[in-house]
């Protein structure tokens, strides 16, 4: 009898797989390997890829999609989707421009931008979680609605910022620190924050639980509606953050800001291992997905391939990512 208990003790202490095993089973790891291979290829075959200037541009360009993909990932983990992030970026960017031009206050403008984004996120989240409406349809509606509001508020005109008074703001999105573009620094910081939230807080645990079995989460006392609402608020908020940085970098904003960006954002999250059926996804995956998209885009240009092919390769990788997911699940039995 005592022998049997000892045996159970041994078994209970065993970890299914170590860090290494976990890594090998993660989609983000394989995408990282793939990115490394493409980068290696680009270094060997082109002169211009591994230059400070190009790397700087790549890092900045991928940050906007990456930041938004970080917000999209928790939504997808809960088996939801947010199609409106591109439009939220456009609307909050226009609000940012209007407030900045009219008040001259950078902080007020940023606050208005993030506030607008958050407000749209609250509307999305409330309709989806409290009224139990379908996230695909609600955010599709919001995609059209927010974009139209951006058109109305901007009166279909470009809003641009010239002069010293805007320097601090333009530097926020266009500047750099120790040779690293500011948006990329923001990306890393937000990746760490969201990675921490997903892995080390009850909120993160509940996000995964919701995607695994929503009914079980409800029965065990998880505040399902609030968690659901919060992920849409976060996705919208991150679109607002991306708007601040992108408008700062461009030095101007039109109502086309962020148009069709939702597709790249969802692609980045999915390529990085977020499962549209819910239950899986990581902050690192969202970042590496965004890296892959930009490296492909940049690589095609440097390799002299017509940029018309860009969509083809992005699409190919989305399909490959889903295929990889299937293969890994199949092996797991």
């Amino acid at each position: 009898m005592s022998k049997q208990i000892a045996a159970i003790e041994d078994v209970v202490g065993v970890q299914e797989s170590g860090f290494f095993g976990k890594m090998l089973r993660s989609q983000a790891f394989w995408i990282t390997v793939f990115v490394a291979l493409i980068v290696l290829l680009l270094i060997l075959r082109t002169d211009r890829f591994w230059t400070a200037n190009n790397l700087f541009n790549v890092a900045r360009n991928l940050s906007f999609v990456g930041i938004m993909a970080l917000g999209m990932t928790p939504v997808i983990i809960t088996a939801g989707i947010d199609l409106s992030v591109g439009s939220i970026m456009g609307l909050s960017g226009i609000i940012l421009g209007l407030v900045l031009v009219n008040t001259g206050s950078m902080w007020l403008a940023i606050l208005a931008c993030l506030g607008t984004a958050l407000l749209v996120g609250i509307v999305n989240g409330a309709l989806i979680s409290y009224l139990k409406l379908n996230p695909f349809v609600i955010t599709l509606g919001m995609l059209a609605l927010a974009r139209s509001l951006a058109l109305v508020f901007s009166n279909n005109k470009l809003i641009s910022f010239f002069g010293d008074e805007y320097d601090a703001f333009l530097n926020l999105g266009g500047g750099s620190l120790w040779g690293i573009p500011n948006p990329a620094i923001a990306l890393v910081i937000f990746a760490l924050i969201i990675g921490f939230l997903l892995n080390y807080t009850a909120w993160g645990q509940y996000v995964y639980a919701l995607g695994g079995n929503e009914e079980a989460a409800r029965l065990t006392g998880v505040p399902v509606r609030w968690i659901k609402m919060s992920v849409y608020m976060l996705a919208a908020f991150m679109a607002g953050v991306a708007a601040v940085l992108m408008v700062g970098w461009l030095g101007a904003v039109t109502n086309a800001l962020g148009e069709q960006m939702e597709l790249n954002v969802i692609a980045a999250a999915v390529i990085g291992g977020a499962n549209l059926l819910g239950g899986a996804g990581t902050a690192f995956g969202a970042v590496i997905g965004a890296v892959l998209l930009e490296v492909i885009r940049n690589g095609l240009i440097l390799a002299g391939v017509s940029s018309l092919w860009n969509g083809f390769f992005v699409g190919l990788f989305i399909i490959l990512a889903v295929f990889l997911e299937r293969v890994r699940n199949y092996r797991r039995g």
Binding site: I8, E9, V14, T201, A202, Q205, N213, R218, G221, R332
Partner: protein
Amino acid sequence: MPALLELSDISKHYGAIQALSSVDLSLESGEVLGLMGDNGAGKSTLVKIIAGNFPASEGQMRLEGEEVHFSKPVDARNKGIEVVYQDLALCNNLTAAANVFLGREIKRQLGPLKVLDYQAMYKRAGELFQELKSETRPRDVVRQMSGGQRQAVAIARTRLSKAKIVLMDEPTAAISVRQVAEVLDLLRKLRDQGLAVILISHRMPDVFSVADRIVVMRRGHKVADKAIKSSSPEEVTGLITGAIESA
């Protein structure tokens, strides 16, 4: 001394459909109550009212003499009523430990933040599985587990806090013969610790081997409530099907 749980005149109707008609039921500590009945007889409805999934249309529920109203499952759990659901209510993508602690994670203070204390949860979950004599590893993802292990995870949940009543909805429906014996053993163990257990089951042998008392439901009415010793499988079958009106 009042009964641990006392239901009086509990009814539940959905529009014109009467799911439960004025059911009285009492439950004492340290007893296993077998709840039997055909599909649609009202046993699940009764259990869901006790578990706080939805309120009764009429009637009162008293816990240790005090009237209680549950509007959600957590209310019942906070009063010491734990449920093992028929489908076990597990998240396949989470580890065994995460499932055990779902909704009441152990946290520790990290500066101003409260973070999950994985080590403490793995340790406590491991202890619970050991108590249950189940070869379940806290770090394993539930997706990869056998039926018995999944059952252990769901039962370990009920052992987290000082529960007074454990409701089990068909715990032996989907597991192997050896595992059924283990689950029934565990039920006896819970009873010996002074808990009250309500076992809902279709399986006559299980109920007769473990229950002290049996309640039979038919078409929303309680048709029998007697000590298991003074009943027989034949009588219960008759009661379930309606061949015997009541006993």
